[in-house]
Symmetry: C2
Subunit: 163 residues, 2 copies
Amino acid sequence: MCQEETVGQLDQAVGYVLKRAGVALRAAMDVALRPLELTVPQYACLELLGQRPGQSNAELARGTFVTRQSMNQVLRGLQERGLVSRPATTAHGRALPTQLTPHGQRVLRTASTAVGRVQRRMLAPLTFDEQQRLLHDLATCADALTDTTPHLACAWPSPPPSW
Amino acid sequence: MCQEETVGQLDQAVGYVLKRAGVALRAAMDVALRPLELTVPQYACLELLGQRPGQSNAELARGTFVTRQSMNQVLRGLQERGLVSRPATTAHGRALPTQLTPHGQRVLRTASTAVGRVQRRMLAPLTFDEQQRLLHDLATCADALTDTTPHLACAWPSPPPSW
DNA sequence: CGAATGTCAGATAAACTGATATGT
DNA sequence: CACATATCAGTTTATCTGACATTC
């Protein structure tokens, strides 16, 4: 009723439900990735590289909604473990294109399977159509907020092309 | 096709979309709450207390999906600023029922309005029915994961009664 | 120059685990 | 005793901001 004034009942609040779902997914992913000694941000980076090889640190940062500095740390960790490689220098520009190493590709495949299981478990109660609708509507909401929050609108200048 | 093996395209991954929506909402809430000098966890605690006054630290922790220790810090901050109050002792048991102070109630009203604006902005592209469906399906997914992740199933023994 | 990038350094926020004490 | 609670202390993780050099 007085939706104009407050957020209403908690279980009707987007924030509450989003937080709940996020925490549950994050925890389940932690469990699934622990055997591989991968953190969720590390996995996200590998996944991104698997789908779009050769991305620079800055591009990866935008793709996972964190700062360059944060992604830099993630990359350093992955590089030390030999999961990704980057040229020390480049002929043109400053961007250093990152690649999965063969070992990185193997780890990614395992991780991706494990995470896939988690995601399917999460979506299991919904029909395929309901799943599609959920993902679509969620993306729409994210867009709506991003477009109407000034400081966010310019935070990710060029949203990753094909997404 | 090989959905049995990987998570598929990123923009079709629950995790990706959830992260994206979560980051966008969190950032927008930060902006909305900054004038009130409230963090998101602090706001969440106030909101919970507004709807279910007298909850103990442990209950609030369960209600916001964090540990007692984390909630304890939040409560200490809110208490120092005079937004909530708790008896120093109790006649029976250890649980200290927390209450919003009059000032806390005023701050919560303002915060709730600001956050409500953010949430409505986020949901604006969807019809009312679509919003309801989104919230419902999201909750269903969270339940599915929580039920099937052993360590999570027991993390929140008694899910907050009415939710 | 301005803009994007990479990276170093330090700071912070928000969560965690572990341990201890109290109360039923 | 088992169990839930409160709370102290230390730690970790994932962020962030600031600064500076490099390259177009």
